[in-house]
Symmetry: D2
Subunit: 146 residues, 4 copies
């Protein structure tokens, strides 16, 4: 993974802080690396679906943000990123005290970067893979239009 912007962690952290949805959900940025990003989400009953598990929308939110920021670590200074599409398979009920979305760039392209994110549920200290996301992230030079 080739990093062109040495300040990639700073720009990712600064952008993450502007994602109000992450605050609303209670998600935190754990780690950022070249082409990788990890986000943590403590479970709260306010994030549940009808059976009390984490809602697929919350799972997708952290998996998508992690994917976008994994891509963002590799984009040139001054550009921004946009998710153009994402796909998530919900592999097992999202039950746990906390969740981790770990994203990794699969292919960095000039216009589109493809990223995968794995979401793990932690229950009584045991990690279990509960979701798998693939996303296409577009690099936008300056403006934010697709």
């Amino acid at each position: 993974m080739i990093v062109s912007d040495a300040d990639y962690e700073l720009k990712v952290r600064s952008s993450f802080d502007k994602q109000n949805l992450m605050k609303t959900l209670g998600a935190q940025l754990v780690a950022v690396g070249p082409g990788t990003c990890e986000i943590e989400l403590p479970f709260s009953s306010s994030l549940g679906q009808q059976h009390g598990f984490l809602h697929a929308g919350a799972t997708t939110s952290i998996a998508d943000s992690a994917a976008g920021y994994a891509a963002y670590t590799l984009t040139p200074k001054g550009s921004s990123v946009l998710t153009t599409e994402l796909k998530i398979n919900l592999l097992s009920p999202a039950q746990g005290e906390r969740f981790f979305a770990r994203a990794e760039v699969l292919k960095a392209g000039k216009t589109l970067t493809v990223v995968t994110s794995k979401v793990f549920a932690v229950q009584k200290g045991q990690e279990k893979l509960c979701a798998f996301l693939t996303a296409s992230i577009m690099t936008v030079p300056h403006a934010e239009t697709i």
Copy 2:
């Protein structure tokens, strides 16, 4: 669309009320019909991404809930539903005062029901399609395991 449970609206509304994430986001159930469901989400800056638009995770949350409930209107009494996978294309920046997710069952199967949801942004009274989701919803007879 064949409805086997005449109380489908009641069961959908009762289940929606248990989806705490919908409350946390501020989403409301607008309409339920045989194989259809509509959810409304007023914009709030607490749901934003880094540019202030609606975060893809919030867009996906209402599109997924609408899809799940569209499927749920058609399932037999006593069963529950689970999203096994979803895919969303983010077609234009999610900018607006409010958003509507409108879901429609494409194919109702015994085990899997495939549903599409369109998400519209309303800006100054103008509706604009901003996202398109496809989801596979599994009907689970009693338990909630995949």
Copy 3:
């Protein structure tokens, strides 16, 4: 749908004729319109999967080509198109004497155009929806690199 290249049908037909896989499968271009395309595939046992139905790969091939050409009708003269990702739900067994993939542009963008294709199986004169595809098609000005 705004057509910028009045010769869109000619360019689509000429490009389709170069898609050797379509010949190998026995597929034909039926109709082209602004933002739409229809491809027909007569069933042949040479296209089967293990149960004798049409292989998902053949279903996807015509759904993808139809989607790409629906997008191509709207792109400027001199540009080419590339599928960057596609998603297909196989809704019922692909059983029939012939199949039709009908694609329609959902959102035409400068860089990415999102298209849906429905695949219908025709059995004893009855059409049945058997697959639903969504694809992101990239417009490439001159070269063919992503």
Copy 4:
């Protein structure tokens, strides 16, 4: 990966031999293991798209068959498998003398098994990742209906 049918390789090879599309494309089963499968496709101009590269439909065909058979290695004796949905990201132009689809089960479930496939292009002895697929494969006890 837990194998319940010790004859898994035999049943996979026997089923692959019935997939006529694989013969039509010229694809061969290379390797089968518990939860894994590899298929090889030599390039032929008869499989091309309009620029002469491998058509996305051919790429998807081998990636899907590999995914289905990776899942099939893990299903109980007497059952069959069906792809219910698949998603593929086309990461770079499919240019090469031969292609390999390598599938690996991500999560084996009772009803649905989620599998990923990577497709590599081999050009002058160099392997390059050109596509990434995720598929949901349904285990069907006896019949073949979804």
